[in-house]
């Protein structure tokens, strides 16, 4: 009993100690710029090893992905990480939290781009070092992390986030500090409206709704559709609104609009209501977790028409739906079956390294990083203003996810692809021009 209490007291007291050490600790470390140790600290001679070294250990590894060789102790120690001459770029992402797979995929894409560039001699003859920080999927955490990247790690540019709400938390800080930020996959219009430092490489929400409508009305010649969307999600309700408007404009008819909310698992009520109207397809702009359930329940109710969706479907998890999602379609940023050489090269490299087919987020992360390097090379200096100017004047950049031209609102104009799900595999179906 006495021993137990002693241990208990010690532990609690130590805990307070941690807290007190907090401020001094952060202060100490923020100057040295250690980060999570994802730095591709590859001096030229060591460059071939870079890809395996960039894969950070533990949590950032995808489940079932390749086990990167253990970094040797010297590389992991803060002192040995990178040299002062390196160009440091930052990435903030949800490596933990409910959307961790998004953050991890993006990070892998970026790491690949960094390793590749370093192998080819870096930018302006200098090596690039990537620092990735986890924001746990929280906006406040995002702000501390971005501040830390800019002030502590002295990054010249920031890449990040998938979710728009977190990009919107990070963007004002980058804008204020004059550090360019490129978001790989935040589709909310407001993100780039924060200021001239913020740009993106993915298309925005309205465009994807339009793509879905064009595909259904023009490619598939559907006349009667229904929509089932997540009312609580910006992405889902945004896509649905644009889709319904565009589909009507293109001569189609939307016979039913049903909504659900975050965390719903039972969609039978909405699906029954849709079944009565007998549509030719159902537009389901949602995330993959919801879509799998919706598809299964729809088939159980005897609904045989195809489901059509957006890039939120893009995940390995779709396999869980089995046959239910056969011959369904969704719009996406890229298809790994696209025959363009950039795509094939990227897919091959990614598969070699991570032993899985890259999803759209990985491709966008890869493109965001490469577009940044391209802009760095063109920019007269690495100062915030020059670099942002170079990024914003990007024209016809040949990315994996299409030819990217940044417009006046710092959004790209590019094509979208439609993928078909055939027996769990994704087949390229069509390319839709803006």
């Amino acid at each position: 009993m006495g021993a137990m209490r002693l241990i208990a007291r010690t532990a609690s007291v130590l805990m307070i100690g941690f807290g007190l050490a907090g401020l001094s600790g952060c202060e100490q470390k923020s100057g040295t710029g250690t980060g999570t140790g994802t730095g591709a600290a590859a001096p030229a001679g060591n460059a071939t090893k870079a890809p395996s070294e960039t894969a950070s250990s533990g949590g950032t590894k995808a489940p079932g992905g390749s086990e990167a060789p253990k970094t040797d102790s010297a590389a992991a120690a803060p002192a040995a990480e990178g040299s002062a001459d390196d160009i440091v770029i930052g990435h903030y992402a949800s490596i933990t939290g409910s959307e961790a797979t998004f953050g991890i995929s993006t990070d892998q894409g970026i790491q690949m781009a960094v390793a590749e560039r370093n192998k080819a001699g870096g930018v302006k003859g200098r090596q690039i070092r990537l620092i990735t920080h986890d924001n746990q999927g929280k906006p406040q955490e995002t702000q501390t992390v971005v501040t830390r990247l800019i002030e502590g790690d002295k990054v010249v540019a920031v890449l990040g986030e998938v979710a728009s709400s977190r990009s919107l938390a990070g963007a004002p800080i980058c804008q204020r500090k004059g550090i360019p930020m490129i978001t790989p996959s935040s589709t909310n219009e407001d993100v780039t409206a924060v200021g001239d430092m913020i740009s993106r490489v993915c298309f925005i929400d309205p465009f994807q709704g339009l793509v879905g409508a064009k595909f259904c009305a023009e490619t598939m010649k559907f006349k009667k559709g229904a929509a089932l969307y997540n009312r609580a999600q910006a992405y889902s309700s945004g896509l649905k609104t644009v889709f319904v408007d565009s589909f009507k404009k293109l001569g189609g008819e939307v016979v039913a609009e049903e909504a659900f909310s975050d965390g719903d698992n039972d969609f039978s009520a909405q699906l029954t209501a849709i079944r009565v109207k007998n549509p030719e397809f159902i537009y389901v702009p949602g995330y993959y977790t919801e879509v799998v359930n919706i598809a299964r329940q729809a088939r159980k109710l005897g609904i045989t028409c195809p489901l059509v969706g957006g890039d939120g479907w893009d995940s390995e998890e779709l396999k869980n739906a089995g046959d239910a999602l056969n011959n369904c379609y969704f719009s996406n940023h890229y298809s790994h079956e696209d025959t363009r050489p950039e795509v094939q090269e990227f897919v091959k490299k990614y598969q070699d390294q991570y032993k899985k087919v890259p999803d759209g987020l990985a491709a966008l992360g890869y493109d965001a990083a490469r577009l940044l390097f391209d802009a760095m090379e063109r920019s007269p200096s690495l100062g915030g203003k020059d670099l942002a100017g170079a990024i914003n004047s990007t024209k016809n950049f040949a990315g994996v996810t299409g030819n990217i031209t940044i417009d006046a609102n710092r959004n790209p104009t590019k094509d979208a692809v439609i993928l078909e799900i055939v027996n769990g595999a994704l087949k390229y179906k069509a390319t839709i021009k803006p």
Binding site: L6, I7, A8, R9, T10, A11, S12, V13, L14, M15, I16, G17, F18, L20, A21, G22, L23, S24, G25, C26, E27, K29, S30, G31, T34, G35, T36, G37, S56, S57, G58, T60, K70, A76, A77, P78, D134, P139, Q140, E141, Q143, T144, T147, R148, E151, S165, L168, A169, P172, R176, E189, D190, A193, R231, A232, Q233, A234, G238, S261, D262
Partner: protein, 433 residues
């Protein structure tokens, strides 16, 4: 009868002290806030001052929740809901108010709200600041009103039932806010000027969040409100209302038997807590520059409940310390700093305290020493093996919470304040002699 009145007159403090006693908290707040903004802020890194700011808002939220969960012993799980109510109200007023009054939603503050880079050129307090402060207070009042409406019917319940009602309230707020129409974005500001104000009030962005808000929240405003919150809550605790709160926590039936109007005091505690939560919501929104109801679900409420429980149910200083610790801990664990300096400092403090109290407790000193050595050893081991601690930090964080709760189920300071803790022991030692 007259003698009784005379007696009360003598007991009550002289008239002239009323004004100073009412004003000094505000002055203290301004002084502390100025120190935080002008002396502390610029001399620590931007990262540290950001953490300090977040810790500040968390202190307000944790201490205000202490009034309900700690003093009154009710279990509210809707604190983030009140924060959302206040945050959205104050975001609406700041954003649309700026558009209506100033013609633009751009930052229009003075030096006290300047968050941009470089020195601020302009007035000390701008028009925007006034709108911002007014909006925060309005946010607090709106949230308090919501607290009253929710509290009146539901606070007749107790324990688990109340927890579920407050949880439900938080979710209702979240879902309602997510169902609002798109906001009028800054580049359509001219459109908003022509729209009648009552139509603007519901254009809160829905699931996209209320974005692109001007950022006014600085260390000055946060610590001004932190000091006010702390003083108000401490005075409340020692007032007759506070004693009524505590009596309800200790035994509701007995309190009622002694003439305490249980429901009235519960509602009062609830309203006060909601006010400060709403205030903090405003600070939060104008710090991030965006507010999204999706981030203020019941998971967020749990953050504050953990702070209150960890600090000790009913301890203001405990909740404050817990808010600071829980804000810093995940960041500290990001790159585990050396443990031994903290251990040494802690040993020093404990030794001094024990020497002052003339009550040596060798076991605890040895325990801290051994603990420090073990933790430092573990850290060195991880470094030498190249194990990236940052990847496991959230597990460590959770583990520390579990250990903490097993070690001190009553929280850091139990139901007392940190100074009472030492005072009581001294008295106990003294009486023993």
């Amino acid at each position: 009868m007259n003698r009784l009145i005379d007696h009360t007159r003598q007991l009550s403090p002289p008239r002239w002290t009323v004004l100073p006693r009412a004003v000094w908290p505000l002055l203290a707040g301004v002084v502390v806030a100025l120190i935080a903004y002008y002396l502390v802020g610029p001399n620590i890194s931007g990262f540290s001052s950001k953490l300090m700011l977040i810790a500040g808002t968390n202190i307000i939220l944790a201490v205000s929740l202490t009034v309900v969960n700690g003093f009154t012993g009710q279990f509210s799980m809707g604190h983030a809901g009140f924060m959302a109510v206040g945050g959205y109200i104050s975001a609406t007023i700041t954003y649309y108010g700026s558009i209506k009054l100033l013609g633009t939603a751009e930052f229009a503050g003075g030096a006290l709200s300047w968050t941009g880079s470089g020195a601020h050129a302009g007035p000390f307090i701008g028009k925007g600041d006034l709108i911002f402060v007014a909006s925060c207070i309005m946010g607090g009042l709106g949230s308090a009103a919501a607290g009253y409406i929710v509290g009146l019917p539901s606070l007749r319940l107790r324990g688990d039932y109340l927890a579920i009602v407050t949880l439900g309230f938080g979710e209702i707020v979240r879902v309602l806010l997510q169902g609002t129409p798109d906001q009028v974005q800054p580049w359509k500001a001219s459109q908003a000027v022509d729209t009648p104000w009552y139509e603007l009030l519901i254009k809160l962005g829905g699931p996209k969040g209320f974005n692109l808000l001007p950022t006014y929240t600085t260390l000055f405003w946060v610590y001004l409100f932190v000091v006010l919150t702390l003083i108000v809550c401490y005075r409340l605790k020692t007032s007759s209302s506070g004693r009524a709160f505590l009596s309800i926590r200790e035994d509701e039936v007995a309190a009622q038997a002694m003439g305490v109007d249980v429901t009235k005091y519960k509602v009062r505690a609830f309203v006060i807590a909601s006010f400060f939560a709403g205030l903090a919501g405003g600070l939060y929104a104008m710090d991030i520059g965006a507010i999204n109801a999706g981030d203020l679900g019941f998971q967020k409420s749990f953050d504050f409940i953990i702070m209150v429980v960890l600090g000790g149910m009913g301890s203001i200083s405990g909740a404050t310390l817990a808010a600071i610790i829980l804000t810093l801990l995940p960041e500290v664990l990001r790159d585990l700093p050396p443990v031994w300096p903290a251990g040494l400092v802690l040993l020093g403090i404990m030794a001094v305290v024990q020497a002052v109290r003339k009550h040596w407790h060798v076991k605890s000193l040895v325990g801290v020493g051994i603990g420090t050595i073990v933790l430092e050893g573990a850290r060195q081991f991880c470094l030498s093996q190249g194990i990236n601690i940052a990847d496991f930090r959230l597990i460590l964080y959770a583990l520390l919470l579990i250990v903490m709760m097993i070690a001190r189920p009553q929280g850091l300071f139990g139901i007392r304040e940190v100074w009472e803790l030492f005072g009581r022991k001294k008295k106990a030692v003294g009486s023993g002699q």
